[in-house]
């Protein structure tokens, strides 16, 4: 870990220049909570570290109907933000339940995404909320949907020289819910986590539903089939017309489909069997809470 070139630029352009200059040799350092353990344990020997904590990428704003969160915003700040709690409840909850206080003060939203763990807690709510990430490099800027950002465990669409600048979360009318199961109450990686977004027209007809699962596939997963069976459904007592009733059976059907789309594995934390069983319960519970259905 010695003899690393360490840069702490204070301007984004400067950082991008460094990233362009060193290309694949450069490693971005944000909160360091994923990266530093790997360096400490000699697994990783970066040649050039570019610290991005001084670039002014620590912000939570509302603009153009979107919640805009700087990539270097610590998880703790997201967990404590009233704005996030109001506009993106599932994200706030995921932030609150991730890691532990002294990790959340350092760990960032950008790092959580770029690290691309299948169990990353902030990824599922961002997928359910239809968020995008803004990627910048010396060559320019592009915007990618979070659900298309991940390619595999530890793999993303990020190119050498590119960094996540911010996350944009569309502010919508519906309700989002995040649920997580781990092997203990605190400081635990997700054995399975679920985020859903449901929008009910007049509180009665489902006009938008999104379901995302974490730790259930090589990447955080969006479950489109599950979403499909919820579209247009109405609450059983509703006066509105709908394709089908949005009731306990429908929600369980959606949960089943979501699990069918996943491909969980056995690991130290849980077996695939358990992940499927508990994941289904979690999806159903989250959907029921978001849609206002008793199950």
């Amino acid at each position: 870990m010695k003899d690393v070139l360490y840069f702490a630029p204070t301007e984004l352009t400067e950082a991008l220049k460094l990233l362009a200059q060193y290309g694949e040799k450069a490693t971005i350092l944000a909160g360091g909570t994923d990266l530093v353990p790997r360096i400490n344990y000699y697994e990783l020997k970066p040649e050039v570290l570019v610290y991005i904590g001084n670039l002014g990428l620590d912000y939570i704003e509302q603009s153009d109907g979107k919640l805009v969160i700087g990539a270097a915003t610590p998880t703790a700040k997201i967990a404590a933000s009233p704005l996030v709690a109001e506009k993106a409840a599932a994200l706030a909850e995921a932030a609150r339940l991730s890691a532990s206080p002294a990790i959340r003060t350092a760990g960032t939203i950008g790092g959580n995404l770029a690290n691309a763990s299948p169990a990353a807690d902030l990824a599922t709510p961002l997928i359910a909320l239809g968020a995008t990430v803004v990627l910048v490099s010396a060559k320019g800027e592009r915007e990618v949907a979070v659900e298309e950002f991940f390619k595999g465990p530890g793999e993303t669409v990020l190119q050498p020289g590119e960094l996540i600048k911010e996350v944009r979360v569309p502010i919508k009318k519906g309700k989002s819910v995040f649920l997580k199961l781990g092997r203990r109450k605190a400081m635990t990686l997700s054995v399975v986590n679920v985020a859903v977004y449901v929008e009910m027209e007049k509180g009665q007809r489902c006009v938008d539903a999104r379901v995302a699962l974490g730790a259930m596939a090589p990447v955080p997963l969006r479950c489109k089939k599950a979403e499909g069976v919820l579209q247009g459904c109405v609450l059983p007592m509703s006066a509105l017309e709908g394709a089908e009733f949005l009731d306990k059976a429908r929600i369980e059907k959606a949960a089943e489909l979501a699990i069918a789309e996943s491909s969980p594995i056995d690991d130290q934390r849980a077996t695939a069997w358990y992940r499927r069983k508990a994941g289904k319960v979690l999806v159903a519970r989250a959907l029921a809470a978001a849609a206002g259905v008793a199950i």
Binding site: P37, L49, A99, S100, P101, I103, T105, A278
Partner: protein, 919 residues
Amino acid sequence: MDATISFTLNGRAVTVRTDPVRTLLEVLRNDLGLTGTKQGCDLEGECGACTVLLDGVPVRSCLTPVGKVEGREVLTVEGLGDPDRLHPLQKAFAETGAVQCGYCTPGMLMSSAALLARNPSPSRQAIIEALEGNLCRCTGYARIIAAVELAAARMRGESSPDGGAAQARPIGGDLLRVDIAERVTGRTQYVEDMPMPDALHMRVVRSPHLHARVVAIDTQKALEVPGVLRVLTAADIPGENSIEGYSKDETVLVPVGGTVKMVGDAVALVIATTPEAAQAGVAAVEVAYEPLPALLDPEEALAPNAVPIHADGNVLSTFAVTHGDANAALAASDAVVDVTYRTSYLEHATIEREAALGYIDEEGRITVVSGTHEPHWHRDFVAPVLGLEPSQVRVIMPPTGGSFGKRQDPWLVAATALAVYHMRRSVRIAYTRRESFDASPKRHPYVCRYTVGATRDGTLTGLRLRVTANTGAYDSGGYYIPNYAIVAGGGAYRWQGVDAFAQSVYTNGPKAGQMRGYGTPQSNFALECTLDEMIQRLGDDPVEFRLRNAIAQHETTWLGYPVAESLGYRQVLEAIRPRYQALETAARAFNESERNSPWRKGVGLAGMWYRFGKYGIPRVAAEAELGLDGRFVVYCSAPDYGQGTATVMVQLAAETLGVSRAAIRLVNADTATTLDSSVPGASRATYWVGGAVCRAVTALREVVAAVASEMLDCPPSAIVLADDRVMAGGDARRSVRLSEVAAEMERLGHSRKVTGVLDLRAQFPNYEREVYTPHFVTGAQVAEVLVNTTTGQARVTRVVAAHDVGHAINPRDAQGQIEGAIVMGLGAALMEEFVPGVTTGFSDYYIPTAKTMPDIEVILVEVPSYQGPFGAKGLGEAPILPTAPAIINAISRAVGARIREIPATPERILAAARRGGLR
């Protein structure tokens, strides 16, 4: 590439020139000499011991590259307060018993300080959330949370009760620990904190194989690594390559031609000028292995054609008890339960990793400072390795960050001594957390088959018990495991017939050895769960059933002799009965009203007996001295790794002398200055060493009184001791200073140091029997558990614990021991499992956090012992025994199906709920 980094540290500007990628933790500890901030894991963010404040916000200093703190403000435990001006949090931690070993304390304090700065009136929940990332293995968290509440109240200016610092009498009151001000300010120096600037660094070459023959060891490349000075192999051992006496057939270093028997087996020691060079040296040592078939399952290791792991086969030891006619008793039973229970490998997971510092002392002795349960034992095991006499070796117990049995393994002391022997220089070593997991002894996994009979009216009849204990690669102090398994496995119950057999079996799993409760929690778990199965079968009541079948004080037990100490089991069960009934009724009501929810509440009860007898001759010695300065000095060997033994010894001495604690100085656990107690700490220290200390100070008092009575011209019986003087009767005008008495003794040539001996051979006449364990403490616990039957998640909401402690010398510490044991037992019940070759550290071996902690209610039942000091018994280990079975009984009752394997992970609970017909 070095850079200059300036920041504010504890209010002062500092500048360091260093590589900005080094961690803040390393820079604080190594470059700036602030060792209050601790390292508990492999710099991976998992333990929280390294927590400091960065601009007022808690961060892990191990994950903070020091470059990041440029221009910012860092606060460490040293900056929070100092021994003369404690921060309110430090004061409250000291007063509430929030500190046991103290290794987690600095991190806890910093997380708490950040919370209170932000939120002066935090709710309990807010405190728990603020501390959820700080692991503590000793306290069970309850007292830490109480300390934060107390400090917050005081900081808000609210009057609050004194934490109990001022008490009239030394024992029985809630007293501060002896060295508490140092512990809460980060001043206490644990081994890794002790400065020794020119010390060399040692790392260990360990086996990556479960089982393999060492064909060759090539050290050439390692010796070429810059900084590497020496690589030691078995060929460099001057004496015996063995720690016989502690562990049969275990080598210090596996020789060429020998076999490594587990992952982590030591093959060579690399000694270098820096830790990095030593590590590089380890990587460069070339060991050629020829892999051998590996056995992990003890049942397979017992098969007739199994590969022998040791020359004498795969059975280390066996033990059997036969009492009455078990077969006939079982045949005559109305109900028979025949079940098999399983437990897994557990790791102590103390927050301090194994560490040692070796050097040559002023008298030329090879000296090792390292955590131990009896330094004399370690000295005696290690001297033969070096081919030296015990007097040429010295072992010193330093302040230690927890043990739970871990530090009884002498390997580290042997390896360090060997390095010092060759280098003639100081050498230090600290394990990585991974190494600690790989190489330290574990709790033995058991397979217990129970066949238990009872009559229709709920009277126990016969017990057939078969225990297979997996001792892993080595004996490692596990030789007597079968014996302990059976004594605990039969319990404090009246059996008409017992046929019990246990064996300890070698496998290629990690060596299993000492761990809190040594071999008893596993079989007690199986026993108490089996009994619960019987109780449910009979529709009986868990308290009444146990009371009905409990051994009476004077009857001959199924072990073949009566107990020789007071047995409080009935009193314990009676004390817990109303709490059990209330919780059970509440659970029924809950389950009724929540019939349609996935939640079920269960209440379970379990009991235990635990022996705290001493091995060998029931005789222990200690010394007491009148110092020339007039202070009393107590010399004994009762190592304190966090449980508070040092404080107890001082309290006992002060109470016996009738002086305050300040008048006593303790010299503890150093082979050069104290006598061998042959009491390996923990539960036995208070009763045995404490008893010897009381006798030593009593003898000293007599000598002092004799001399003082001459000086004051009064009869010795009229002499009254005060802290600094001796008076004739109550007359303060007729007094001499203790320092004057000491001077007079010098003048007269009287020895100022006397020996006190606790000798109970007359009281325990059977001590020469092979298995004679007549001293038991008892206890019972009730657990209330909330289970989600659709996800298998279980939450232990409440534990009520009733324990017979004889007489609580320090009630607060006794409660703290019980709380810590319960949370550790909860970990074993629900989440802890070491899987050989898979588990690496805190990221995959989950121990309970503050959020896992249940509400704990402790009932101290005091049934005075006959022989212990002031009626005290032993406590440290016992309270872990009933926790897991109480929890498992609660879960099994909640889901309507038995769980027979721990940990009861959500998977296993979900599977049981499905068997039980729930969802």
